[in-house]
């Protein structure tokens, strides 16, 4: 049976994608979730995974073609399960017959970790083998390519205009004291080695995630005039892109992670945003967004909701301010202004205020994180 493999939607704002590179050819047997192509969207170059198993019958889109979402890019022959087993064994023999590529073990490991197809890389080792240096070079060019020739500005303009046109935003702000959180963080980090140390922004996001579990009205999609809460929290994080613009990859299922897992996941996401290697799901399946101006120095930021999501939290610049404590004494303390922009079609200001209060409660009780 033939199946038309469509250009996938890699984000709510994506209308078309440019096929940068095929990683399969006619006759290949592909497995579910196998990376089959690199597609450039307005945001970055994304590795596209196949949703089906089958044999490639025909490649429709040529490298360089711009294809509308949903239009076929290749035709697969999909067969029943019993035949799949035999294709698997055929695959094995095929690999055996392939010419072995000379690549050093560590280079191979790094290539696999970064989803780099090394079969096309020309090695620079003494015997033409691919070394770590070659993979690092490839990674750098991949990153540069990831953001080249992309009209990110236009995409942001389209999405943000749509958001402001369609979504009735309401805005709330609450100033929160971070002294107990920062003390706890210092103490905790003393016990950890540098790679495991928790980062303050990750911890603030963690507080938002924990609070979000109690407020399903903030986490999900507004589609076709109704809201659908999401069972997972896929936390989108707004990252600035070198050369201007913003992209919002998500930490998938952030609610199922421990604080330290989440801390690592955020760092890994930031690294891959910078160097390439984001997955399509990470760009298309965010259920909630955080924008963190942090070190840019603005005291507060009111985000524009990323449709079809229904809320965005803004984390401002962390700084010292005068605080009046419970004994009415004036002292200096660390504060941050946390804002909420939410969709009034889904929730009201009262609920939004409770949500911010819940975040504050979590920040005041770091052990609850």
């Amino acid at each position: 049976m033939n199946y038309n493999l469509p250009m996938p939607s890699l984000g709510a704002d994506m209308d078309e994608g440019k096929l940068m590179e095929w990683k399969i050819k006619v006759g290949d047997k592909i497995l579910k979730n196998q990376v089959i192509a690199a597609v450039e969207t307005t945001k970055s170059v994304v590795d596209v995974e196949s949703f089906r198993e089958g044999t490639v019958m025909e490649i429709i889109a040529k490298e360089g073609d711009v294809i509308q979402v949903g239009r076929p890019i290749a035709i697969l022959d999909i067969k029943g399960d019993q035949i799949l087993d035999s294709t698997k064994s055929e695959m094995k023999t095929e690999i055996k017959e392939n010419i072995r590529i000379k690549i050093s073990p560590v280079a191979k490991k790094m290539a696999e970790e970064n989803h780099i197809d090394f079969s096309q890389i020309k090695g620079t080792g003494a015997e033409g083998e691919i070394t770590l240096k070659d993979i690092e070079t490839k990674l750098r060019t991949k990153t540069e390519k990831a953001f080249l020739g992309v009209n990110l500005r236009q995409a942001i303009a389209a999405v943000m205009s749509r958001s402001k046109k369609e979504i009735p935003h309401y805005y709330l702000k609450k100033r929160m004291n971070l002294d107990s959180l920062m003390n706890w963080l210092d103490e905790t980090n003393k016990k950890l080695t540098p790679p495991d140390r928790l980062l303050l922004p990750a911890l603030l996001m963690r507080a938002v995630i924990v609070a979000l579990k109690k407020f399903p009205e903030m986490n999900g999609y507004f589609k076709e005039d109704r809201f659908e809460a999401s069972s997972n929290i896929n936390l989108g994080i707004a990252f600035s892109v070198k050369g201007g613009g913003v992209i919002v990859p998500a930490v998938l299922e952030a609610d199922k992670m421990s604080t330290s897992e989440f801390n690592k996941a955020v760092q890994n996401l930031a690294m891959r945003t910078k160097e390439g290697g984001l997955k399509n799901r990470e760009l298309s399946e965010g259920t909630f967004t955080i924008t963190n101006v942090g070190d840019l120095g603005s005291d507060e930021v009111y985000g524009i909701i990323f449709p079809p999501q229904v809320a965005i939290v803004g984390i401002g610049h962390i700084r010292k301010e005068p605080i009046i404590d419970r004994q009415d004494q004036l002292r200096a303390g660390f504060v941050v202004d946390i804002t909420l922009s939410a969709d009034h079609r889904v929730s009201d200001g009262l609920l939004g205020a409770r949500f911010l209060n819940e975040i504050e409660k979590k920040l005041n009780d770091p052990f609850s994180l």
Binding site: S104, P105, V106, K109, A126
Partner: protein, 323 residues
């Protein structure tokens, strides 16, 4: 305090004899002559003939005496002139010293130290220039220490004498006149941890004993060419400190082992195999080895130099690895 390797060995030995009243030194020419390498010069007068014992030319005999004395509760220090003559005592070392504890079901322990020199490079011809330390490191039940620095020359003996099992201290004949700063004491001294003598990020150079100064000089040469070589002094050949080797390799992804022994079945082969077993996926290039050529050592200086790894050979090998 600045000391030569020879002075450091002498000081270390003197401190041990002064501290451990049940210790004694036995070997050829250790008393009246003051030791083949003048390490025990004047000790006979200071410690007396009961504790500084000139033995007849019978390695198997006086090594056996040392083993017997250790079984009886003494702390003997047996000096065998060089590793070449230790061959005569291999039965005692391997078939007695290494296994007494095992064969007695743990009832008998053997606080025995055997000192000897090893290595070539002094035009002493084939039968006097061997490097058998890698061979000895094959034997379970022995600990093999190879002091390559002045501080190790001074402190390894003091550590070894407190061990309850046989320790072989294998000194290198070419190091005796090297000098360096030496601390008065090192509180957390342990000989079983390899040391990074020079940090670097591009390649790990593993060595020990007489090859260490050459490797350090070769790495200096490479530094001028923009390559940062990390030089590891193994210090202990048995037990081997895998952790330090693996940690370094995971940083540099490349490794060269310089071993003065012959290549086939050498210590470098063992290290290479361990790296393959544990760090294969961290390697960016095959493990390389530089060893002595597989012929008996010739007497002629230029031939001897051609056979034992020299600084220029190490540099050449390193350059090849970066091609």
């Amino acid at each position: 305090m600045r000391l030569t390797y020879r002075e450091a060995l002498r000081l270390g030995l003197k401190e041990v004899l002064a501290t451990h009243k049940n210790s004694f030194l036995i070997g050829e020419d250790v008393g009246a002559y003051g030791g083949t390498y003048a390490v025990s010069k004047d000790f006979l007068a200071e410690f007396g003939s009961e504790r500084i014992i000139d033995a007849p030319l019978s390695e198997v005999g006086f090594t056996g005496i040392g083993i017997g004395a250790a079984m009886g509760g003494m702390k003997p220090i047996v000096e065998i002139m060089t590793v070449n003559f230790a061959l005569l005592a291999f039965d005692q070392i391997i078939n007695s010293a290494a296994i007494v504890n095992f064969m007695s079901g743990g009832q008998i322990s053997l606080p025995l130290v055997i000192r000897m020199t090893s290595g070539g490079g002094r035009q002493l011809a084939a039968q006097h220039s061997n490097s058998f330390e890698g061979w000895l490191a094959h034997i379970p039940g022995l600990k093999i220490l190879t002091p390559a620095t002045v501080e190790d020359a001074r402190f390894m003996l003091g550590y070894a004498i407190k061990e309850n099992s046989p320790v072989l201290l294998i000194e290198h004949a070419l190091l005796f006149n090297q000098s360096a700063e030496c601390r008065e004491n090192i509180s957390d001294f342990t000989p079983y941890k390899a040391q990074i003598k020079k940090p670097g990020k591009d390649l790990t150079l593993i060595t020990y004993g007489g090859m260490l100064p050459r490797c350090l000089k070769a790495s200096d040469e490479m530094e001028k060419k923009g390559r940062e070589i990390e030089v590891i002094d193994l210090r202990s050949l048995r037990p081997l400190d895998d952790e330090t080797i693996f940690t370094s390799l995971r940083k540099t992804h490349r490794v060269l082992i310089v071993d003065e022994g012959w290549r086939s079945g050498s210590l470098s082969a063992e290290i290479s195999a361990r790296i393959m077993e544990s760090c294969f996926y961290d390697l960016d290039a095959p493990v390389q080895r530089l060893c002595r050529k597989e012929v008996p050592i010739p007497y002629a200086r230029h031939l001897e130099e051609a056979i034992i790894p020299q600084i220029a050979d190490i540099v050449l090998k390193l350059e090849e690895m970066f091609k």
